[in-house]
């Protein structure tokens, strides 16, 4: 038996034991309101998914030798595959369960929320996707620091990446823990540890190749499952949305109010600010940007965003139908509610209960497994992007000043992967009670205010300098985090102050302006010798970003 084969058989055995231990420990806790009986169908389906992905990881491990294989799957992913992988990377459990729950609770407001996540894609396609592919190799810092002094800009880019990745990871870990507790009847900590170990295995052994295929399989499963649910719901109403909505209005506690905007957009400033966080945050999410380096050319990068946008748009339409289906089929059925009339397991379970209502226990098991797979795929992508920021940007460029071997860089990525896995598990346990949707929107706001302005200005504005990019980027980052701390979600809800200093729900409108003005101001006032080099480098950068001349292609296997 080879070394890797042995490792994988140990892992399979360990997971079987962990699942058994979890179910055994779960049994005495059945009385808890938030915990479900152990769902064996779901566990069996999930085990099949895990075995399949471990098998893929083993296959990918053989193909992952160089740094380029590890970070970008050798750049050999096709546009169609990458489109599905991007969709798999982006459609998180927060999207599926969170948005269907929002529709279940408030109707139309859930649609407003979903649309925000979609509209960033065309902007990313038109202005950034091809240029990113032409300039970058492994991380978005390759693009942001292309013509600048490497050390300060990469230091910023790695900070921006790690902050976004950590907030996003916490959200996914907490979501995973709660979800698995509810779906499988496992303890919270076992669920979080399980997710942490699996994501480490995918990334550590299979790198980007394994991560990509886990995301593709998950995207196909999620799209198939949600299509079946939406189709089943519509078929009960003769495929007439009007009939479905009419029934929903009839049975919903809020009545006709679910057909129009409610309290989701509190005031115009909050609405615009939140919209900006979602729209421009998409173009600043490091794990999404990294996916553009996995395709062989700018043309494939462009194709992949079109596929991704199509799948994600289709998915949100389905989620809207699923939410209304849940109003009618779950909201009216006492079997899905506790004694107090609340949904079993909380409102986030609306889509899961609907799965049982339309497809019985087996389909419930399938959707539960899909929800868990969804989290795994997203955390694997996040971990990989965090690990590459540390190894490729911090270690290789900032600490070793470019004097490294690909081997030592790869070793640092693997150590970072393990470290990030452990940190994610610990933070997931510490922040158990955090609001998942809030953490996700915070990650988007930071990405929009720090990563996006620097990326945008360095690629498109000749006058941008090292100083401007670094100072402006950090200002955007600090403002986004600072305003969040003094907003209601933290200042009042966490620190128990009386009133919030910052009155709006999202900082993006203000912190994005700070980021952009910061980059501009600290560039135009920069007359040092480095600024002259930075500006002189723009022509060559522009030619490469527009044409791809000199860009790295796919590596041969």
């Amino acid at each position: 038996m080879t070394k890797t084969t042995r490792i994988f058989s140990y892992l399979a055995a360990a997971f079987a034991l962990l699942a058994l231990a979890g179910s055994a420990m779960a049994a005495p806790d059945l009385g808890q309101a938030t915990k479900q009986a152990t769902n064996w169908t779901a566990i069996a389906m999930f085990a099949v998914f895990v075995l399949l992905t471990l098998f893929i990881t083993k296959w990918a491990a053989k193909r992952t030798r160089s740094a380029s294989d590890f970070y970008t799957a050798g750049g050999g992913i096709t546009g169609f595959q990458n489109g599905l992988a991007i969709a798999g990377d982006f459609m998180s459990a927060a999207s599926f369960l969170g948005i269907s729950a929002a529709v279940f609770l408030d109707g139309f407001d859930g649609l407003i929320y979903a649309i925000g996540f979609l509209v960033g894609w065309p902007v990313l396609t038109f202005l950034m996707a091809e240029r990113l592919r032409n300039l970058g190799r492994f991380t978005f810092a390759d693009v942001a620091a292309y013509r600048f002094a490497q050390k300060p800009v990469r230091l910023f880019a790695a900070s921006g990446t790690l902050v976004v990745v950590l907030f996003y990871l916490i959200a996914q870990m907490v979501g995973a823990g709660q979800l698995i507790k509810l779906l499988f009847g496992l303890d919270y900590w076992i669920a979080v540890v399980l997710v942490g170990i699996l994501m480490m295995v995918y990334v550590l052994f299979g790198g980007m190749t394994a991560t990509t295929w886990v995301q593709i399989i998950k995207a196909v499963m999620l799209l198939a499952g949600t299509t079946f649910m939406a189709f089943s719901v519509l078929s009960m109403f003769n495929f007439s949305p009007e009939q479905l909505f009419a029934k929903a209005v009839e049975v919903h506690a809020k009545g006709d109010a679910i057909m129009g905007p409610g309290t989701f957009i509190k005031d115009p400033i909050s609405g615009i600010s939140f919209g900006m966080a979602l729209m421009f945050g998409t173009a600043g999410l490091p794990h999404i940007l990294m996916r553009f380096f996995t395709v062989p050319s700018a043309k494939e990068a462009r194709k992949s965003v079109l596929w991704a946008t199509t799948w994600i748009g289709y998915f949100y339409v389905l989620v809207f139908i699923i939410g209304f289906g849940a109003i009618v089929l779950v909201g009216t059925n006492p079997a899905f509610k506790d004694a107090a009339g609340k949904l079993l397991g909380g409102n986030n379970m609306a889509a899961v209960h609907l799965a049982k209502a339309v497809g019985g226990d087996i389909f419930l098991g399938f959707i539960s497994a899909v929800a868990f797979a969804t989290i795994l795929a997203v955390v694997a992508g996040l971990t990989l992007s965090g690990a590459s920021a540390v190894s490729h940007d911090l270690y290789a460029t900032v600490i070793k000043k470019g004097q490294t071997t690909p081997g030592s860089e790869l070793r640092v990525s693997k150590i970072t992967t393990i470290a990030l896995g452990i940190i994610a598990v610990l933070l997931g346990i510490v922040f158990q009670s955090v609001n998942v949707a809030f953490m996700v929107s915070l990650a988007f706001a930071i990405a929009a205010s720090a990563n996006f302005p620097v990326l945008f200005m360095s690629v498109l504005w000749k006058g941008c300098t090292t100083r401007g990019a670094t100072v402006g980027g950090f200002l955007g980052l600090i403002t986004a985090v600072g305003l969040t701390v003094v907003s209601k979600s933290v200042w009042v809800d966490v620190f128990h102050n009386k009133a919030a200093i910052f009155p709006y729900t999202s900082p993006a409108l203000f912190s994005m302006i700070v980021g952009f003005v910061g980059v501009w101001l600290f560039s135009v006032t920069d007359s040092g010798p480095r600024a002259a080099i930075d500006k002189a480098g723009f022509e060559a950068q522009e030619v490469r970003s527009e044409t791809g001349i000199g860009a790295a292609g796919a590596t041969a296997h």
């Binding site: 649309i115 065309p122 038109f126 957009i265 115009p268 043309k299 044409t547 001349i549 860009a551």
Partner: protein, 122 residues
Amino acid sequence: MEADLVQRVKNDPNYQKLVRTRSRYGWMLALSVMVVYYGFTALNAWDKAFMASKIGNGVMSWGVPLGLFVILFTVAVTAIYVRRANREFDALTDAIHQNAGAGTAQPAATNAKVTQPTKVRA
């Protein structure tokens, strides 16, 4: 990249045309997405009554089809860009690669007839 290659590419009329056309087109489409999306958001913030008002005799409100329109528009506008880029911008890019004599030229994605020096009518 050597300085003379950069200058050679910059002086290629195809390059000037590509940069000019593509960035104008990209910005125009990006702006259209922003107008549609922030218009939708503004209606949800300022005119909630309109979004909730009924289209016909049933329960269907204006908000739902408008929201679905934003989703369809987002996908459609991306498809429109990619379609033009695949036909026109790739032909220009291939011609620029040929003229620059860059060995990294991607395989021609279109059947644009390329001679040296090439100028693409697109």
